[in-house]
């Protein structure tokens, strides 16, 4: 096939970006899969035998992996459910017209614009056992007798980290919901009111069906990012106390960059990536069909 001038110049213009993508995206994907099939331990750099899927099998026998799976599941569920619910509530509030509504909508974006590391540090300070805001507030209003070491309580560590994550990612989700709500024709609400639908019925029969595309986007997106959260764990707990906040991405980090077992680390990354993909696909299939 001979290319015309337009096609050739188009190919030429796209080539640089394509090249960059090959180097920074396609190559790592293929290379990390190659790594996951080899027993690569960085303390013995010259010995890298091919082991097939042994790394994967070894991971499934590893108790730490299953701990991490359960921690990640809890963390992701809390993040996604709370983010989505809060986003809908905030959107319902900000979709109303009241004095200060515009200012509040603008302020909503501040947490979202805060860099993730800054957000982690901020919450670490808030939770701090000696000078933290949370302790100070709760003691002053009398809900707490003495300062607590919040992040060292294995029962609530995950929830406290999730709280920091939700704080940061809820605004974008809420914004998406507001945009979707603004597109709902006012006549639908009027028709429902004439028919005798109360506030709750109007929400269920008019607002919720219209929100479905936005909800799907939020669910997929929040699942994809929550399941892979890393920076908050690095800054706030480093997987602790004990294994209370040992999530998959933290385990991958420990396995790869602390134990220097790159083979198993890469295999775990692949498992996480495939899980993320499968979950997103499931959400789209489940919700997408009903739109």
């Amino acid at each position: 096939m001979r290319l015309g001038y337009d096609e050739r110049s188009a190919a030429l213009l796209v080539a640089p970006v394509l090249g960059v993508l090959l180097v920074v995206a396609a190559f790592p994907i293929v290379y990390s899969f190659w790594v996951s099939l080899h027993d690569i331990v960085l303390t013995r750099p010259l010995r890298r035998p091919f082991v097939g899927f042994d790394n994967y099998l070894r991971i499934f026998d590893d108790a730490r992996f299953w701990t991490a799976v359960s921690r990640t599941t809890v963390y992701t569920l809390v993040c996604v459910v709370a983010t989505t619910l809060l986003a809908v509530l905030v959107a319902l509030l900000l979709n109303e017209v009241f004095p200060g509504q515009r200012l509040l909508s603008a302020l909503l974006l501040v947490p979202w614009a805060t860099p993730s590391v800054v957000n982690g540090l901020m919450w670490k300070w808030i939770y701090d056992p000696t000078y933290g805001l949370l302790n100070g507030l709760l003691v002053q209003v009398g809900l707490l007798e003495r300062y607590r070491v919040w992040l060292s309580d294995p029962d609530i560590t995950l929830l406290l980290i999730a709280n920091a994550a939700i704080w940061k990612q809820m605004p974008l989700a809420a914004l998406l919901m507001i945009v979707t709500m603004k597109a709902i024709p006012e006549d639908l609400y009027r028709a429902a009111r004439v028919d005798g639908a109360n506030v709750w019925q109007r929400f269920v029969h008019v607002t919720l069906p219209a929100l479905r595309p936005g909800l799907m986007l939020v669910l997929v997106y929040e699942t994809m990012i929550s399941i892979r959260h890393f920076d908050l764990f690095l800054i706030m707990t480093q997987g602790g106390p004990g294994d209370a906040s040992l999530t998959l991405s933290w385990l991958i980090y420990v396995e790869t960059f602390r134990s220097l077992r790159f083979g198993t680390g890469a295999a775990m990354s692949y498992i996480l990536a495939i899980t993320t993909f499968a979950l997103s696909w499931a959400v789209i299939r489940f919700l997408g069909k009903r739109i």
Partner: protein, 351 residues
């Protein structure tokens, strides 16, 4: 059925008065059309009757019961919207049935009510489709179905045909009129389309600036417009308005004089209204108007002529298709003075 009484009904948005102390009584089973340009307050009035818009002042009664503060669903009204307002995620069947579960009806009653409404509107074959699979006309039939199943005392329609194309509008107009004849409910219908108003209404309320300009039968409004606004709003092509003064018991403009029955006092500034169809072949006993044809627009059933009379007076006239006028022809038209409309130029009221 219900009689609707609006007493000094007022709606204010801040300092803006959308509806200004409107008095209107709509009889049992009457088809009332609120007609006017956009922003005249007709939709706001309808929304107040529906209960969708809070009433700023005045009283609204259905029969003898005051409903000024009654929520919409307790008023026994059904509403049809210009945008159809169908639930996009529900089927036609579910859309039509949607008011009934809220009114605590048993399932069997709902099924038969939906079936009856669908049959009446000829949409039985569409019952399992969703709104986005329907044409505009079909969607509006579904919206009508949703109103019918409630068996309301009052039907409120907010420009239901405005989103439809011309052919469909014509057939839907017939459908709505038949519906009114069958159901014998009270209809309040808002539109800016004079043809819809004329064909559907028992009485028309022409509105402007939140006030009723004239309330009368379609014939009354067309034959005896109360003021210049009403005269200009109804009629297509619009009425010809000719400014002049009264002199010697006749309307006078430049050199053209037209003797009128019951003329107002001399010296008064007046506007003469001449409907385009109120011209004939010049004949004895008729006033005469000489004009040169500028533009001929044959419509098949009739012909519209744009003519210029002496003094540069431009008029549009409707003549039978048999008139074979050509551009540049000098024609003598006959005008029956009894069919003219005379308005005071300052007050714009009919004389």
């Amino acid at each position: 059925m219900a009689r609707i009484t609006c007493a000094a009904l007022t709606k204010k948005y801040g300092d803006v008065v959308a509806v200004d102390a409107l008095d209107l009584e709509i009889a049992h089973g009457e088809f009332m059309v609120l007609l006017g340009p956009s922003g005249c307050g007709k939709t706001t009035t309808l929304n107040m009757i529906a209960g969708l818009e809070e009433i700023s002042a005045g009283r609204l009664s259905f029969d003898d019961a005051e409903v000024t503060w009654t929520p919409p669903h307790r008023r026994e009204v059904a509403m049809v919207f210009q945008s159809y307002a169908l639930y996009p995620n529900k089927t036609v069947r579910e859309n039509i049935a949607s008011p009934l579960p809220l009114r605590r009806q048993p399932a069997a009653a709902i099924d038969s009510a939906v079936a009856a409404a669908a049959a009446q509107l000829e949409i039985t074959h569409l019952l399992d489709r969703r709104p986005n699979e329907l044409s505009g006309g079909q969607r509006q039939r579904v919206a009508l179905g949703r109103a019918i199943v409630r068996n309301p005392a009052v039907f409120l329609m907010d420009g239901p045909l405005s989103n439809l194309d011309a052919t469909l509008r014509l057939s839907m107009r017939g459908l709505i009129k038949r519906l009114h004849q069958d159901l014998k409910s009270t209809f309040v219908y808002v539109t800016h389309d004079q043809a819809e108003a004329m064909t559907l209404a028992d009485r028309i309320a022409v509105m402007r600036g939140g006030l009723i300009q004239q309330l009368d039968t379609p014939e009354g409004i067309y034959e005896r417009p109360a003021n210049l606004f009403v005269a200009g709003f109804l009629g297509s092509p619009p009425i010809n308005l000719i400014e002049g003064v009264m002199a010697g018991g006749a309307f006078s403009r430049g050199g053209w004089r037209l003797a009128l029955p019951n003329p107002p006092a001399d010296g008064r500034s007046v506007t003469l209204g001449l409907r385009p169809e109120d011209v004939m072949v010049a004949a004895p006993g008729l006033a005469r108007l000489d004009a040169r044809v500028e533009l001929v627009s044959p419509l098949g059933s009739e012909t519209h002529l744009d003519v210029v009379a002496e003094g540069g007076l431009k008029l549009t006239l409707r003549v039978p298709k048999e008139w074979r006028a050509a551009v540049g022809d000098q024609i003598g038209f006959g005008i029956d003075p009894a069919r003219l409309h005379l308005f005071d130029r300052a007050s714009e009221l009919r004389l």
